[in-house]
């Protein structure tokens, strides 16, 4: 690098004199690698966006469950398409997820034992979603339930609520 300060070369600004100067090869290498790095990160981000669908052709997580009169008191009704139980108790209604909190199998309401049971790994729950036995780690969640203006039940599966909250009949 001492060759750079050859006497025949014209005066160089002090900031670029030997010691401070970056060799041209290193400079170009760094610029190129930097540009490739930015382009690489950008392509990762763009590819990630590409693989995340913007529109899903899946059942809507918010759905109408019909007239409240459809559900007699002390009943557990399984809605197949939505994978939700509508439970009617004397105090009112609640909606319990039918998807097991263990590994996502769809559970079944067993009227003879009064339990919700999972066919995959044997988890058992009460009708209000409370866990009776594992391997499920958590109780079945309750979904937000309300009445529409025209008096139908409306369940929102995107919103989990506390199990004490009951829609008054």
């Amino acid at each position: 690098m001492s060759d750079a300060s050859d006497s025949s070369t014209p005066a160089v600004p002090p900031s670029l004199q030997a010691g401070n100067a970056i060799p041209r090869r290193d400079f170009l290498n760094e610029i190129t690698l930097g540009a490739l790095g930015v382009a690489g990160l950008g392509s990762v981000a763009v590819t990630y966006q590409f693989f995340s669908p913007n529109v899903l052709f899946e059942p809507s997580p918010t759905f109408r469950a019909g007239n409240p009169d459809l559900y007699p008191v002390h009943s557990v009704t399984f809605l197949q398409d939505q994978q939700v139980y509508i439970v009617r108790v004397p105090e009112g209604f609640y909606a319990v997820s039918a998807v097991c909190t263990h590994l996502g199998c769809v559970t079944q309401w067993k009227p003879d034992t009064g339990m919700i049971a999972c066919p995959c790994h044997g988890s058992k729950f009460q009708a209000d979603g409370t866990k009776i036995e594992g391997p499920a780690p958590r109780p079945l969640p309750h979904f937000a339930i309300s009445l529409t203006a025209d008096g139908e039940l409306l369940v929102d599966k995107l919103q989990s609520i506390k199990s004490e909250q009951v829609l008054k009949a």
Partner: protein, 248 residues
């Protein structure tokens, strides 16, 4: 005209000489050149110790795994001619292969059984290498390549499991992708990307199909190439130290 003289005549032609730029492999030098000069053989060793070829109970497991992979590659391509990776068709195409397509049930079962056997063979191969100490220097890198190949084999099995689109497939993938979502922080995102949605549906079937027939086989081929090449570069197949002591 005998077969030998016909072959001799073929060797004299300009076309043959343009492809194989060497004489007949009848000396050690030309035999080595035959291996070096062939794309499909050049990663194999030109010389193998006779002792390393001795048949033992645990032997040829890697070769068996590779042979099964080739069987799966060929039968898989044939099955693709009748299979549509879309929800109304997938299950029916699988049933058609079983009951309607000539020899379809043979190909489907060959693919299915070879897949089961390959997982078994790869595990046996890994146990064999492990208990023989085949992971020790200078083979550490090839051991790591082998572990990745084991994972690729399992992912191939898992993605192929969904394709019949029956109840077994559906629930197996539901359970499997829920295991992924148990991963902290990124689990749910990875599940969403893998399924192309929140449920095991059309998008999931297509994504698993593309992974199964394109991406994972390409990765497997690449890694198998490196794996074989490294066996040679790391000094050939391992020989028991006590075999090594004696003169060869």
């Amino acid at each position: 005209m005998t077969v030998h003289s016909a072959l001799q005549q073929l060797r004299e032609t300009k076309v043959w000489k343009s492809i194989f730029r060497r004489g007949p492999a009848n000396t050690n030098r030309t035999r080595s050149l035959a291996v070096f000069g062939n794309l499909f053989l050049h990663w194999l060793p030109v010389k193998v110790r006779e002792k390393s070829l001795r048949v033992r109970a645990s032997y040829y497991l890697g070769s068996i795994s590779f042979l099964l992979f080739i069987v799966l590659f060929v039968t898989g391509i044939l099955l693709m001619f009748y299979y549509h990776p879309a929800a109304p068709h997938a299950y029916r195409d699988m049933k058609d292969l079983q009951f309607v397509v000539s020899n379809g049930v043979f190909l489907r079962n060959l693919h299915r059984l070879a897949a089961h056997l390959m997982v078994f063979a790869v595990f046996c191969h890994m146990f064999h290498v492990f208990y023989r100490g085949g992971y020790k220097p200078p083979h550490e890198f090839n051991w790591v390549v082998g572990v990745v190949l084991l994972l690729v084999t399992l992912f191939l099995s898992y993605t192929g499991y969904l394709l019949p689109w029956d109840q077994l497939a559906f629930w197996a993938v539901t359970v499997g992708t829920n295991i992924i979502s148990a991963m902290p922080v990124v689990g749910n995102k990875i599940r969403f990307l893998l399924l192309g949605g929140n449920i095991v549906g059309e998008n999931a079937l297509l994504r698993f199909y593309v992974l199964h027939v394109v991406i994972l086989p390409l990765i497997a081929f690449l890694l198998i190439g490196i794996h074989f090449w490294r066996v040679q570069k790391d000094g050939g197949l391992t020989v028991k130290p006590k075999d090594d002591d004696g003169k060869e």
